[in-house]
Amino acid sequence: MRSAGIAEEPRLLLVLPSATYRASAFVDAARRLEIPLTVASDCASALQAHQPNGLLTLDFGDLARAAQQARAFASEFPVAAVFGVDDDAAVVAANIAAELHLPGVPVSAARAARDKHQQRLLLAAAGVRVPDFAAHDIGEAADLVARGAPYPCVIKPVSLSASRGVMRANSPDEFLRMHARLARILASPDAQSLGNVAGPTIERRYLVERFIPGREVALEGLMLDGTLNVLALFDKPDPLDGPFFEETIYVTPSRQPPDIQRGIAEHVEMAARALGIHRGPVHVELRVNDGGLWIIELAARPIGGRCSAALRFGADGATSLEELLLGHALGRVPPVPSRESCASGAMMIPTPAAGVLREVRGVDDARRVPCVTDVMITAHAGQRLVPLPEGSRYLGFIFARGDTPAVVEHAIREAHAALVVILDADA
């Protein structure tokens, strides 16, 4: 073992998967905050040998081993805080925080947020309203499950993110078709690779739950000592009624009435506490209808994809979501700044069909739409595109800012209409 040589300033350990949209935003945030950063990922960086204090590889498939790897690293390079950027990374980070006795989300809470079934059980037990649900193994007789399902129902893998594998069925016949499709998705290599990050057998389980009609919203929040700080509440103006649930447009501030917005915040705070999440980011999806508010998902991580670029904080909009979160992880907890005053929105550009992407035309035209601030195409030419429910990648993102949510939504739709996706569609 090498002896401690040069004194090292404690570092922030940023846990992220190699297949992430978020690396750049977090690395840039750490630079702006002048935080000594170590990026810990599931695959080795080509330059890890050059910068052993800045780059680390962890075994995401073996939580105990990952925690030991982090401990060995921390014995050489002191670690002040650990932060996980996505669902799996949040569980890895929670284990590391526990191993190193650093502040963090309890491992049980991170696991509960990761496992949709466990999450439903805890929320229901705490009196938080969630859809009626039942959990099943994909190997169970589908016809028996179909007979007992509440229609219309939603079938949803316990482990996957971003609406992947989530399907609505209106009848037993539809259920059986969707079930067969889900079985294929769960058998895919990336669904199988979750390992024990998400818990044993998680990749085989799915929920059958009652479909909840209504508008969907997403809350971005930061828990501080068990109290929710609402960072943003997004409306999702496109109806999400199935058969698949592709998320498209997010616009903030919400146009829901103030009393509904207060109720949403209260529900989310209660839900986070029920899971044991008293600190750190939460990203929560809810349905709003005449029957009240329903928690659809709660994740112990920030918003996904590149959507965080829609959020700026402080009077001058100079602070990014990632800066705010990393500062909090390091214990820098000034009053949480408000989001900038203008309306803002993002679109996860839908994948139009299965096939090989040739090009996306009209990007410059889309960028010229008033109020549009950026259009990013993140899929590359030659990449195979797969729409939901099987797909796991975005085509790209559109961002807009404006005086009102309606203006922002209109700008995003206009920009989207300017894009022409050229692909060699599957036969």
């Binding site: 073992m1 090498r2 992430t20 690396a23 750049s24 990026v39 080509a46 993110s161």
Partner: protein, 201 residues
């Protein structure tokens, strides 16, 4: 442009599980002999000191025939080869840097900085990045800010910013005195074969 730097290590030969023999290029080997059993003891010897930065190295013996390294811990000599080569190459780069600065008696100007960075890219960065099918091209240095373009597996890679900021920039800041910043002008959207493609998680 500077003359191409000597290959830092000309022979790397594990002898057994705990011992490895390496032979250095001429310019590297001229640091004097010595036997070192800790980084502290090697403080005055650049090569030995750099080798103790490799995790697992517990002894360094520098002699006329090369360097004999001792290790402890689970890492194999195969695992350690890259870090060891890098450690020695870093010493070479520092000497190159010092030679550049010494030639003028002042901080590096943009041309000298360009040459040094180019050397570091050729000898250290790009050979490593090639493992992921990538390459980084130095385009210019203006007012001590280097402009680069990432290609191959780096272009459009989900981890490109990590490679650039945590790997390349940090390395350059250690080796290039006066470097103010690093600008990436890569069109990542045009990357056709990124090593890590981002996915929803």
């Amino acid at each position: 442009m500077p003359a191409k730097a000597p290959t830092a290590i000309t022979s790397y030969q594990p002898l057994d599980e705990r011992t490895c023999h390496v032979v250095l290029g001429d310019r590297v080997a001229s640091s004097g002999d010595g036997t070192f059993s800790s980084r502290e003891a090697a403080a005055g010897h650049p090569v030995a000191n750099a080798l103790f930065c490799v995790r697992g190295i517990v002894s360094v013996i520098i002699h006329a025939g090369g360097i004999t390294l001792g290790k402890d811990g689970p890492a194999s000599w195969d695992d350690l080869e890259k870090p060891i080569r890098y450690a020695v190459a870093t010493v070479v780069a520092r000497r190159e840097r010092d030679a550049q600065a010494g030639a003028t008696g002042a901080a590096l100007n943009d041309t000298q900085m360009y040459d040094l960075i180019q050397h570091i890219f050729q000898e250290q960065i790009n050979p490593s990045i090639a493992a992921h099918g990538g390459v980084i091209e130095l385009l210019d240095v203006q007012d001590a800010v280097a402009t680069v373009r990432m290609q191959g597996g780096c272009q459009g890679c989900g981890m490109a910013s990590v490679t650039l900021r945590q790997g390349v920039e940090t390395t350059l800041r250690q080796l290039v005195p006066g470097l103010v910043g690093l600008t990436d002008i890569t069109n990542h959207a045009a990357g056709k074969n990124p090593y890590f493609a981002a996915a929803k998680k």
